[in-house]
């Protein structure tokens, strides 16, 4: 079963071609890596998947359903969550509140419930808060529940953002350079965290620069260069692929 299918996708910004003719399938339950030099179009791909931008050519479906014309919010409701290359936390809110926002799509309280603090609102809040605390523990940042997100250390913020994304119980999780700026022990923990996420049933699409980490973690990898997919395969194949070596590994990372 394919969670994500891209066929011939192209995206231009004015004269600049950020992506061209990208075709890609991601199997349910995979940890799928996307690598490529800076400016290759990796983040742009994520931005197409979450409808930040509209693509110019091709088609994209999630879970067999075309996402053409769907809004960011609708796509989130289809079970796609993401983190951002440059963190986008709710800085002036507690870590707990950040994660609880992530649970938004799971809750049913409407405006009236919220106004009147009805039983449903209270019940959902209690449950949501409990789940949020568990999630923070799961990503390994318990103890900071009540602190403002902007006051947390960088590594903690990265995990908090993952917790927020997981809070929606996504089917597909998009991680944009989650290891950027982490030290090696933090990277180790990140690897086990991502495995645990996948084992929980979430497909992971991972953009990452750290080749060791990607090779170690991903079952399949696609390589982008100047907006084109120049290779796709298992880590071993990628490592030996001549175009990849030329475009990416050739230059010492």
């Amino acid at each position: 079963m394919k969670v994500l299918e891209l066929a011939g996708v192209g995206k231009r910004f004015g004269a600049l071609t950020a992506l061209s003719n990208v075709t890609l399938d991601v199997e349910e339950g995979a940890i799928f890596g996307i690598i490529g030099p800076n400016g290759a179009g990796k983040s742009t791909l994520f931005n197409l998947l979450t409808a930040i931008y509209r693509w110019d050519e091709g088609s994209i479906s999630i879970g067999g359903l075309s996402i053409a014309g769907l809004s960011t919010q609708r796509i989130a409701r289809l079970g796609v969550s993401r983190t951002f290359q440059n963190l986008r936390l709710f800085g002036n809110a507690s870590a707990l509140a950040n994660v609880m926002v992530g649970e938004h799509v799971l809750l049913e309280a409407n405006v009236l419930d919220s106004l009147l603090n009805t039983g449903r609102e209270r019940r959902e809040r209690t449950e949501a808060e409990k789940r949020a605390r568990e999630l923070l523990r799961f990503v390994g940042v318990s103890g900071v529940e009540e602190q403002f997100a902007r006051n947390l250390s960088y590594g903690t913020q990265r995990r908090l953002e993952i917790a927020r994304a997981l809070a929606a119980r996504p089917r597909l999780l998009l991680l944009d350079e989650p290891a950027a700026g982490l030290n090696s022990s933090e990277k180790h923990e990140l690897v086990s965290l991502i495995r645990a996420i996948r084992d929980g049933g979430t497909t992971v699409l991972l953009i990452e620069h750290d080749m060791g980490l990607v090779m170690n973690l991903c079952e399949r990898i696609a390589v982008l260069d100047y907006g084109e997919k120049i290779a796709e395969g298992e880590p071993r194949e990628i490592r030996e692929h001549p175009r990849v070596i030329e475009a990416y590994l050739g230059a010492p990372a």
Partner: protein, 303 residues
């Protein structure tokens, strides 16, 4: 037809004043992304300074012949200097500290500065409009069916000369290039050795100077100054800047003239009490449907 031409001339005159004020909004917005809400009050201040000079010189009895020409020049220059310094002072004291603050903080501060200025000008000059001394002769010219005062022509000419000068200054001069660099990317500008603080300060000086010209011109052409003038004129001019495309100098001029026309013709056709509604409707429509204005361009937000 006669009335139409008169309204047209009137609109052009109003438009010249709004365009001058609009340039100040556009320059500052271009460089700081701040709506300098107090800009309209800097304009009011310029009017009162010009008025003060006229009153003083008239009392001294020197306003005739060559003395009149010098007097007009003195009033204009005083208005320019006073407004420029006031505007730069506001930037230094109120806005500079907030460059890295959350986005709404500078706007709220600017509204606060505007209220303070309005109140201070009221304390200084009273709450009733103050008439401008009627010292500048205004012979009427007849050009076909069009009847205009020499004053109107001078006012418009002065505004256009100012705007053209500004345009070349920003496009050609070293300072103008620095301004554009800072407007595009403050950090990059600072990396290539541009003094960002100084450039911003100079932008406020220039914007204030333009408000000073407008204050002088507006005072002469409306025949009075009032402590709350800047609120209405400022919002009209801001509307003009947005209509033309904020951050865009040619846009501010275009917008100024269009809003001047709109005010003049809406007053004529549907009554002065609706002209506010007309202008604000334009403001809302532009911001909602084409926030980049007539001459601006939009870029998608980078994520």
């Amino acid at each position: 037809m006669h009335e139409f031409l008169a309204q047209l001339a009137n609109g052009v005159e109003l438009g010249a004043i709004y365009a001058l004020i609009a340039l100040g909004y556009t320059l500052v917005y271009g460089i700081l992304e701040l709506i300098n809400f107090a800009h309209g009050d800097v304009y009011t201040f310029g009017s009162f300074v010009a008025l003060g000079i006229f009153v003083g010189l008239r009392a001294a009895g020197v306003l005739h012949g060559a003395g009149l020409i010098l007097g007009i020049a003195a009033a204009l220059i005083a208005a320019i200097i006073a407004s420029a310094l006031l505007n730069a002072g506001i930037e230094r004291l109120a806005y500079r500290r907030l460059r890295k603050a959350p986005r709404l903080a500078p706007l709220i501060t600017a509204i606060g500065v505007s209220f303070m200025l309005e109140n201070l000008i009221e304390l200084w000059q009273g709450s009733a409009p103050v008439p401008f001394p009627n010292v500048i002769p205004n012979p009427q010219l007849h050009i076909g069916a069009l009847e205009v005062g020499v004053q109107q022509i001078v006012v418009v000419a002065l505004a256009i000369v100012t705007m053209v000068t500004l345009h070349f200054f920003v496009q050609r001069s070293k300072l103008g290039k620095a301004m554009r660099a800072v407007a595009q990317d403050r950090d990059a500008a600072s990396l290539v050795g541009i003094n960002v603080d100084r450039t911003i300060a100079i932008t406020f000086l220039i914007a204030g100077a333009l408000a000073g010209v407008a204050g002088f011109v507006g005072g002469v052409s409306f025949g009075s100054a009032w402590f709350l003038n800047g609120f209405g004129a400022g919002l009209r001019a801001f509307t003009a800047a947005v209509l033309g495309g904020i951050g865009n100098i040619a846009g501010a001029m275009l917008g100024g003239f269009l809003i001047g026309m709109l005010e003049s013709f809406s007053t004529w056709l549907i009554g002065g009490q609706w002209s506010n509604v007309a202008v604000f409707s334009v403001l809302i429509l532009v911001l909602v449907f084409r926030p980049s204005g007539l001459l601006g361009e939009t870029l998608p937000e980078k994520v």
